[in-house]
Subunit: 202 residues, 2 copies
């Protein structure tokens, strides 16, 4: 497939369709394996997106094996159970509540660790905001490398944290099913707000 | 510019560079106006990204006029002041804490408003998470249409809310300077974590 940009330094229409306009949240999955190399490529793209003070709090568990899926099962809400158990991969999108301990390496030109150390509310807010930004970069990066996604908030975070993050400083944020979507299982697309309902120019 | 995808349904290398790998957080801005049409295009792309129950809490103010920039000025941290006042546009990325009132329209196939009504903690968490996801979609959409960005958390949210959102249900989340970046003002790129520090496969 050859595509053409509409102007230098812009994505072309096919690329915009792939990442934003035609991509859908999938509920059914084709019996087609997800190459490990594509997950790595998507993570290595997503991690380049901006975060506050380069804090980079995103942490991920790719749940792939039947054993790991069974650990996830009891935490899933009823509406998300079947599709998640059937997905080739489910990413637990999490954030590190001790991200600031890495700032001497990630933000070496200032003592950014000191901005956060001892301020639990600022740590939590920064980790949640920037871990969510990075989770969004990941969704779009997965689409960019040719995978389909289905993100979800319907699960018991405390159960997931106990099952996957016990003894660590990571906390779960949301889940993303990953695979090649079965278009026959898509719901009708829900409407979006109009531009003028979202944005004002002053 | 003609680009070529590496496989059907994937972005090509030039597109991945534009959106993820070569894009930078800018601190200086060329004297080149930002077309209103590109801001609209970016919002209309970003709003297609997934949110929980299609909640779509993102709200934006594009601060463009000198008068509006002066309203923003007192809320900016010292390190963000000069570059933000100089940026052609500064987006206030906010979220609507009454987003659930629109769910009968945005998620018509279930009574999703009832999932949130009266649960202030769930409303705040959902608005913050999904408003942040949509803010990330916006950053990548702005890059996709050929603009440069510089996102920031360093500002006084209460001051911004008082100056721009008084009497509304919107709350500020972060800021994004928008324009055509001056590459001579870029800082050296900060390091990212290795794949294995971010992700585990089970």
């Amino acid at each position: 497939m050859t595509t053409q940009t509409s102007a230098p330094g812009q994505l072309d229409e096919a690329a915009l369709d792939l990442v934003f306009r035609n991509a859908r949240t999938h509920n059914g999955w084709l019996d087609k394996p997800v190459p490990e190399a594509l997950l790595r490529q998507a993570v290595d793209l997503a991690k380049m997106g901006p975060t506050s003070a380069n804090a980079s709090p995103l942490r991920l568990v790719f749940v792939r094996s039947p054993e790991a899926k069974e650990r996830l099962r009891p935490a899933l809400s009823a509406g998300n159970l079947e599709k998640t158990m059937a997905a080739p991969v489910t990413a637990i999108v999490a954030y590190d509540t001790q991200f600031h301990e890495l700032l001497p390496r990630l933000f070496p030109h200032a003592d950014a660790r000191a901005w956060f150390a001892g301020n639990a509310a600022l740590i939590e807010e920064t980790a949640f905001r920037n871990g969510s930004l990075q989770g969004a970069y990941l969704i779009l990066a997965l689409r960019a490398v040719g995978l389909d996604t289905g993100a979800m908030s319907g699960f018991d975070k405390a159960q997931v944290d106990a099952a996957f993050f016990a003894g660590t400083s990571a906390k779960s944020n949301f889940l993303v099913n990953i695979g090649y979507g079965d278009e026959s299982k898509l719901f009708a697309r829900s409407p979006r707000l109009d531009y003028d309902e979202i944005a004002t120019t002053l």
